[in-house]
Every structure is written in structure tokens, then in C-alpha cells.
């Protein structure tokens, strides 16, 4: 890449520094892109090495870092995209009138967590974990674009499989599914398990004659 003739003001060093052509190309692509663009797609469009693109993206991210512009460069939903800075959102909403996302009920969040961690998963599997029928919750999540059908399982009855959507990643601020907090974080402690066991035994004793 040739060095660029464009200067940008760097507040940290209090000086004008040059911005590389590649970074400017990426900026142009991201300005127009309707969805988060993955690094490899950006590299292909710029006909540049993936490593160089990565480096330029880092440069762009510091250029569009928090508190510098009205928007920041975010890595979310499997790619890079511009996002309005939190403190500017109110102004934008005044213009566009865009509505806030409707809250997710506890039942929907629970169903979504099972679907997200077990995906691709079936209705029966979700119901088994939750202990209640989850047909309605799955349908509601599909309607809200958080999960989608992804074929059918190769088991008797060929049940529909569900997986999360790119919109799910975006709304939860995740770069990829691997960004989901590890399941181990939510494992119960041995003490908690013992407590449940004690409660179960107590219940059983009460019920048996």
C-alpha cells in the first residue's frame, strides 16, 4: 500500500498524522455496507492481505474509538460495522423516531439461552431442559428474528432444528457465538447441588407414606 496524503488529527500526540490508503478504503466500504462485514470480505474487496486489513482495521478502530466521533467502529455479528455512540443515540432517535427493542420476557430469555447454547436444537430438547412446553416461546423468538429454522434433525419424526440468527449476535453485542459466556460459568457449586439434593430428599420423604 502506498502511504496516503490524508492527514488526520491525533488527539493523543496532538499532531496531524497520516491515514493509510487501505484504512480509507475500509472506511469507505464500511460507510456503505448494510451489514457487518467480516474481515475476509473486506480483504477481498480491497484486494489486500488479510493481515494488512486486520492492522488497518485496528487503526480505524482507534480513529473511530469511543468518544471521538458520533459513531464508533464496532466488531459485532460476525463483522465490522459503524455504530452510533451511546451519548448520541437520543439525537438520532429524535430524527428517525426508531423505537426501542421490546423487552424479552424471562421465558423467552430462558428459551433463547437453551437454543443459543445447544444449537442446532429441537423443540423437544428445549422443552426437556426447561421442563415445560416451549412451542410458543420458540415461535415468538422466530418472529422476533432471534432464531431461525435450520433444517430438520435426522431422528424419528425429523423435528425442526433451530439456530440463532446474525441479528441475535448484533442485539446481544456478540462478535460470534464463541463470544457467548462459557457455560461453565453458570455451573452450580457443589454446595448448591447438595442443597437441591437435600430439598429433593425432604420433599420425597414428605410425600411417601
Amino acid at each position: 500500500m502506498t502511504t496516503a496524503a490524508v492527514l488526520r488529527y491525533d488527539a493523543v500526540s496532538d499532531a496531524y498524522v497520516q491515514m493509510e490508503d487501505l484504512a480509507r478504503h475500509l472506511e469507505a466500504l464500511l460507510f456503505l455496507a448494510p451489514r457487518p462485514l467480516p474481515a475476509d470480505e473486506l480483504a477481498a474487496a480491497c484486494a489486500a492481505e488479510a493481515s494488512a486489513v486486520r492492522q488497518s482495521l485496528v487503526e480505524l478502530q482507534s480513529e473511530y474509538g469511543p468518544g471521538r466521533h458520533g459513531m464508533a467502529l464496532a466488531e459485532v455479528g460476525g463483522g465490522f460495522t459503524f455504530r452510533v455512540e451511546s451519548d448520541c443515540e437520543a439525537v438520532v432517535r429524535r430524527l428517525t423516531g426508531s423505537r426501542a427493542e421490546e423487552e424479552l420476557s424471562p421465558a423467552l430469555l430462558e428459551t433463547l439461552s437453551v437454543a443459543a447454547y445447544l444449537q442446532p436444537t429441537t423443540r423437544a430438547e428445549v422443552a426437556q431442559v426447561r421442563g415445560v412446553s416451549s412451542e410458543w416461546a420458540l415461535a415468538a423468538l422466530v418472529e422476533r428474528g432471534l432464531i431461525e429454522e435450520s433444517g430438520r434433525a435426522d431422528t424419528p419424526g425429523a423435528p425442526i432444528l433451530y439456530r440463532t440468527t446474525p441479528r441475535f449476535l448484533k442485539l446481544f453485542g456478540l462478535r460470534a457465538l464463541t463470544d457467548l459466556p462459557p457455560m461453565a460459568e453458570f455451573a452450580l457449586s457443589a454446595g448448591d447441588v447438595e442443597e437441591i439434593r437435600t430439598r429433593l430428599v425432604a420433599n420425597a420423604a414428605r410425600r411417601s407414606p
Binding site: 459485532v76 455504530r83 439461552s113 446481544f172 429433593l200
Partner: protein, 260 residues
């Protein structure tokens, strides 16, 4: 009936029946033996078909042997049990197998632990959601070429549009609802009927005035409650599901007339 089939397999079954199935043609006794030896797949055997053939044979011969019929019923029951276990196993992963209390407890515990884990994950998702769901991302509208609806107009002949629309404008046939009966009793009519009955013959029981039909009975009951709430009658029921006695409050006839 639910004794394991194997325990009886040494007893020679005395069921005299020839069956004709897709997978097997011959004596029923032989079929049972083959199923027990796994030489005929129980999946493929239509048990209902065997029963039908047996019943037809009984009707035809008119000979009813209690001993042999009992034997047949026991064998069929065992086959059905085996088959339903096969089917159930397939869908629930053998959940129907009887667990002892300790095993059941452990399974329940494992289920609860698993559930709590996902509940924790749901909590983490809620946290992420509250931080990210309402962020505003770059949005791009439809490309300009899709916004030019004018292009479409010039290319589509009006006749084509008319032909396309015609089927949509046709009035659909009115569905036949003649099989849906009108509600025979209305609340107003029932109120009138009850008032007339009460004025005529004084205290009554619910059973004596309620119609047969469940829905109509419900409306009568509803009307009764209405009369009670208007203070026209007192209701008295000594025990649950017992007789309901309806006594008109003669002192307030004016109210009944006004409400009627």
C-alpha cells in the same frame, strides 16, 4: 397380564388360528414363536389385524373355547406391551423403564442442575441485552434501483394486471353453516322463564328447572345467579354438588317486574 412373555414361552400356546399378514402367513402360535426368537420383526406385525382375524374366526365357527381364547388374549396383550415398549423407547430414550426412587431422584437432580445452568445463562443474556439491544447500527435502505417503481409500470401491460387481479376480486362462496345450531336458550328468555316458574309454584330446586343440555343448563345457572344478584331469590345448597333450592323473595315483586 404383564408377566414377561418369556416366562410363558415354555407353555405350548393352544391358540388355533391361521393369520395372514404382510410379513407372515401361517399359524398364530408359530408367529409368536418367531417373534420371540427375533426372526420376525414385531415392528412389522399389525396386531390389530391378528385380533380382527381371530374375532372373525370366532364368529364364523361359533365355537367359543374359554381356555384357548384366554390364551389368545394373554398373548396379544404381551405382544402389544412389547410393541408399545419398542415405540416408547424410540421416542423417549427408554424413559418409561421403571426407575427406583434413588435413580429417579438422581435424574431429577441432574435435570434441575442442568436447568439452573441455563437459567444462569439467561441471566447473562439479559445483561448483554440491556447493554446492547438498543444500540443503533449503520442501516442502509433499499438500493435506488428497487425504489424506481416507474420501471415496473412501463413493462407490465394493463391487461396482464387485470388478469392477475381478477381471481382476487371474485367473491368467495359463502360457507355453509347450516350444521351449526342456533343457541336454543338466551339469558333473557331464561330469566323470564325462571321468574314465571317461581311466581307460579314458589320454591323450586335447580334440578327440576334445569334443561338436559349442558350448555342450556349452564345458562339456567347463570340466570339463577343473575336473579340472586338482583335479590329476587335466595339460593341454598347444603353440601357440595348437592341440591340447590331456589326460594323467591316475595317481598320484592316490584324489582322483578322492573327488571323483566
Amino acid at each position: 397380564m404383564s408377566r414377561p412373555l418369556a416366562a410363558r414361552s415354555s407353555i405350548a400356546p393352544a391358540v388355533d388360528l391361521d393369520v395372514d399378514l404382510d410379513v407372515f402367513v401361517g399359524p398364530f402360535d408359530l408367529l409368536v414363536t418367531l417373534i420371540l426368537k427375533d426372526e420376525v420383526d414385531l415392528w412389522e406385525v399389525r396386531v390389530s389385524h391378528i385380533i380382527a382375524e381371530y374375532v372373525v374366526r370366532l364368529a364364523e365357527t361359533g365355537q367359543f373355547d374359554l381356555e384357548s381364547t384366554s390364551q389368545f388374549v394373554v398373548l396379544i396383550a404381551a405382544l402389544l406391551e412389547m410393541k408399545s415398549r419398542l415405540l416408547a423407547d424410540d421416542e423417549t430414550g427408554g424413559e418409561l423403564e421403571e426407575l427406583d426412587a434413588a435413580e429417579a431422584g438422581e435424574e431429577l437432580l441432574a435435570g434441575l442442575v442442568r436447568y439452573s445452568q441455563y437459567k444462569g445463562a439467561a441471566g447473562a443474556l439479559r445483561e448483554l441485552w440491556s447493554r446492547h439491544a438498543n444500540r443503533l447500527y449503520r442501516q442502509v435502505g433499499l438500493p435506488a434501483r428497487f425504489l424506481h417503481a416507474g420501471d415496473m409500470n412501463t413493462r407490465l401491460a394493463p391487461e396482464l394486471l387485470a388478469r392477475g387481479l381478477a381471481p382476487l376480486l371474485r367473491e368467495p362462496a359463502v360457507p355453509d353453516v347450516s350444521h351449526i345450531a342456533d343457541l336454543a336458550v338466551t339469558l333473557v328468555r331464561e330469566l323470564r322463564r325462571l321468574r314465571a316458574l317461581l311466581a307460579e309454584s314458589g320454591p323450586l330446586t335447580f334440578a327440576s328447572v334445569a334443561p338436559r343440555d349442558r350448555l342450556e343448563k349452564a345458562i339456567t345457572f347463570f340466570a339463577l345467579l343473575e336473579l340472586h344478584s338482583r335479590g329476587e331469590v335466595t339460593l341454598d345448597q347444603r353440601h357440595a354438588f348437592g341440591e340447590i333450592k331456589i326460594t323467591p323473595l316475595g317481598s320484592r315483586p316490584a324489582l322483578a317486574d322492573a327488571a323483566g
